[in-house]
């Protein structure tokens, strides 16, 4: 599903990613771990075209991204297949929870308002947030915001989901909730890539773990091999 081949990227003369190659299939949860500043988030952002890269290729499904700036039409197609949940959630503060989730279907998929809202309600129910449809994001707890962000990304029916530090802003109970959501989404057939510091989370949720240090992959394998029991 995701095939990264020899990806490199420099920023201001400094190498951020060096010769990164990685495969992640459907129903898999790939955890990317490693020290801060190791290039984890940058790698994730290269997968949905928020950042361009210098060499190598990224193939997601039938879309192939080449080095340099990506054509706008390719980006739109890639992003429709790739949902992303940000570390700070980045919910839209001027919209209600329901509108946050319905905006993508309405604007990007051009669904009529009623249909988009119906779809949004279904996604909110899937993450257990249906009761908060009318609330503003700022009134929600971190875990609730996280789940709304997941519902928002899911609403466009992506085949790949990217998570940037999904548990860093959450307490242990909320982390467990989010982990369950991620695992159940993977079982439903999605490809998941999760950048995380949380080794306990990676051990329990991931099917493969990739360690990224100073922009290079140092180790790849099952969680038990990389992180220990």
């Amino acid at each position: 599903m995701i095939d990264i081949v020899a990806l490199s990227k420099a920023r201001g003369g400094t190498r951020v990613l060096a010769d990164v190659s990685l495969r992640a299939g459907a129903r898999e949860v790939t955890a990317i771990v490693g020290p801060s500043g190791g290039g984890k988030s940058t790698l994730l952002r290269c997968l949905n075209g928020l950042e361009a890269f210098d060499t190598g290729t990224v193939t997601i499904g039938e879309h192939r991204m080449q080095p340099g700036p990506h054509p706008a039409r390719l980006l739109e197609r890639v992003r429709r297949d790739v949902g992303m949940v940000f570390q700070q959630f980045n919910l839209f503060p001027h919209l209600s929870v329901l509108e946050n989730v319905a905006l993508g279907p309405r604007v990007v998929s051009r669904l009529p308002r009623a249909e988009a809202h119906g779809m949004a309600e279904a996604q909110l129910a899937r993450v257990g947030m249906a009761a908060f449809a009318a609330a503003r994001p700022a009134t929600l707890s971190g875990g609730q915001q996280q789940r709304v962000a997941i519902a928002r990304a899911l609403a466009l029916g992506p085949r790949v989901m990217l998570f940037d530090e999904p548990t860093s802003a959450l307490d242990p109970a909320m982390s467990a909730e989010v982990m369950e959501t991620i695992v159940s989404l993977a079982r439903a057939g999605q490809t998941m890539v999760v950048v995380t510091h949380d080794h306990a989370f990676a051990r329990r949720a991931a099917t493969q773990v990739v360690e990224l240090v100073a922009g290079r992959i140092t180790r790849t394998g099952p969680p038990a091999d990389i992180l220990g029991e």
Partner: protein, 490 residues
């Protein structure tokens, strides 16, 4: 520096009987006029534009010499020259027509010049005479330009049977330009003015003979009787010994006819002072309709300014690279030049390239253009204040750049900038008064015309201020609501 300042203050305090002595002690007679009013009265010397010339410049020097002092010029806007009396000017010498209202509110000298009213039209068009104004022209009502506050304006307004829209200008040349450009059908002004400028406007002609008319007078304040009497005596001597005739002959103003006309000048009685209540009842509807024009100008121009400003801000932040410097240049030029100049350019200069806009349209466009530059800066700040993560989240959903702006960034920016934008709306409300330079009569202009024609300067100022407050107060409340709404929003 302190001593002359103190003397200067006492000179303007109007001490009973001391005002003439104060002028003499100062050694200067400060006379007010408007050089924009133009020739032959007072205008910049074409050969040395920093120097003023005109028959009234010469007259002021003659009068001052008679008082044993030097003449010093004080610039003012013509229709508001009388407001300068007492401070900083001693007298007004600038084609001020001797009218009953002026005799009521000021001291008027004996006449020093006789004028007639002259209608001016294009060579190739009607009207032929003033009488023709009583029936509608080929394009409906006649559009006739006058100098605001002049006898020509009073004449046209006192003839309701004329099918005429009277349009007031701040300078006489402006109305001649507008007739030549085809914006106006005709202009009405003192005959000596057209005689002076006729060569410059080859496409214009005198329509019919001069008619009506009257006399020019030197205005002084009511509380300066000695100065007024001294000026009268000075004029008497200048007329008697032939110096005034020589002066007029030098300016090609028909010296002998002038002296004969002045000799026959009949006494003009002062107008009665009307009770305030009656005056207010009569003036309030006029002030209210002028306030309506202020509201109209603000409410038409501000939405345009907001839309243009938002477009400029978006273009500068997210537009193509070639567009950004152009928009930056637009903002700098518009912010760096006065609103009055922009209005002037739109209204008086565009007709020269064949685009004659109605005054209201020009005013709305000018205000919108000017404010769009300021609004664009506010919006730019608002757009930059929305966190980058919001933009990325929208892009990650598959939105295009412009979809992300429209649905995510702009709505948040608009909420952020609501208080400063409302604040600017209040400012624009008051800036509408500048539109009077392009003949739009809004509240401030109406006030100044009425105040000078009735002499009730303070009373009408209070009413006008109340009207402005009544209009801007609700906006202030609205602005405050936006602000508190934003504070409450977490």
């Amino acid at each position: 520096m302190l001593v002359p300042a103190v003397i200067g203050m006492s000179a303007h305090s109007g001490l009973e009987g001391g005002e003439l002595a104060a002028v003499v002690a100062r050694g200067e007679l400060i006379w007010a006029a408007d050089q924009e009013g133009g020739g032959p009265h007072v205008f910049p010397d074409p050969d040395a534009p920093q120097r003023l010339t005109g028959f009234e410049v010469d007259l002021a020097e003659l009068i001052a010499a008679e008082l044993g002092v030097k003449a010093r010029f004080q610039q003012g806007q013509w229709d508001r020259l009388p407001l300068l009396l007492g401070h900083p000017a001693d007298c007004v010498i600038n084609g001020i027509e001797l009218l009953p209202e002026r005799r009521r509110d000021y001291r008027c000298s004996r006449p020093y010049f006789a004028y007639g009213l002259q209608l001016i039209a294009r060579r190739d068009g009607p009207p032929e005479t003033v009488a023709q104004l009583a029936t509608a022209g080929p394009a409906g009502r006649w559009r006739v330009g006058v100098l605001t506050g002049s006898a020509a304006e009073a004449y046209l307004r006192s003839h309701p049977e004329f099918e005429v829209d009277v349009i007031g200008y701040d300078g006489t040349i402006d109305s001649l330009e507008q007739v030549q450009a085809g914006v106006l059908d005709a202009a009405l002004m003192d005959d000596c003015i057209f005689n002076f400028y006729a060569d410059r406007f080859a496409g214009l002609r005198a329509a019919g003979r001069p008619f009506g008319g009257g006399y020019y007078t030197v205005l002084t304040a009511r509380d300066t009787p000695q100065l007024s009497a001294a000026i009268d005596e000075a004029l008497g001597r200048i007329i008697a010994d032939g110096r005034l005739k020589t002066l007029y002959d030098r300016w090609d103003l028909g010296g002998r006819q002038q002296i004969l006309a002045l000799r026959d000048a009949a006494e003009i009685p002062a107008a009665p002072r009307r009770p305030l209540r009656e005056l207010v009842a009569e003036m309030l509807p006029l002030l209210l309709s002028a306030a309506g024009m202020t509201v109209l100008l603000a409410c038409l121009s501000f939405p345009l300014a907001i839309l243009t400003g938002l477009g400029v801000a978006l273009g500068r932040l997210y537009g193509p690279a070639w567009l950004r410097p152009l928009l930056t240049g637009f903002v700098e030029v518009v912010r760096g030049t006065p609103l009055m100049l922009q209005l002037y350019a739109i209204f008086f200069l565009l007709p020269k390239v064949g685009l004659a806009l109605p005054a209201l349209v020009a005013a709305v466009l000018g205000l919108a253009l000017n404010y769009s530059a300021y609004e664009s800066e506010i919006y730019r700040a608002g757009l930059k204040a929305v966190p980058l993560g919001q933009f990325e989240a929208a892009l990650a959903l598959g939105m295009t750049k412009w979809q992300a702006l429209r649905h995510v960034i702009v709505p948040q920016a608009v909420r952020l900038v609501m208080p400063p934008v409302t604040n600017d709306f209040i400012a624009l409300f008051k800036d509408t008064s500048v539109c009077s330079v392009i003949t739009v009569i809004e509240l401030t202009k109406r006030y100044s015309v009425l105040a000078l024609s009735t002499g009730r300067i303070v009373e009408l100022a209070v009413i006008t201020a109340i009207l402005y407050l009544a209009m801007s107060w609700p906006l202030s409340l609205l602005s405050r609501r936006f602000e508190t709404g934003q504070e409450q929003r977490p």
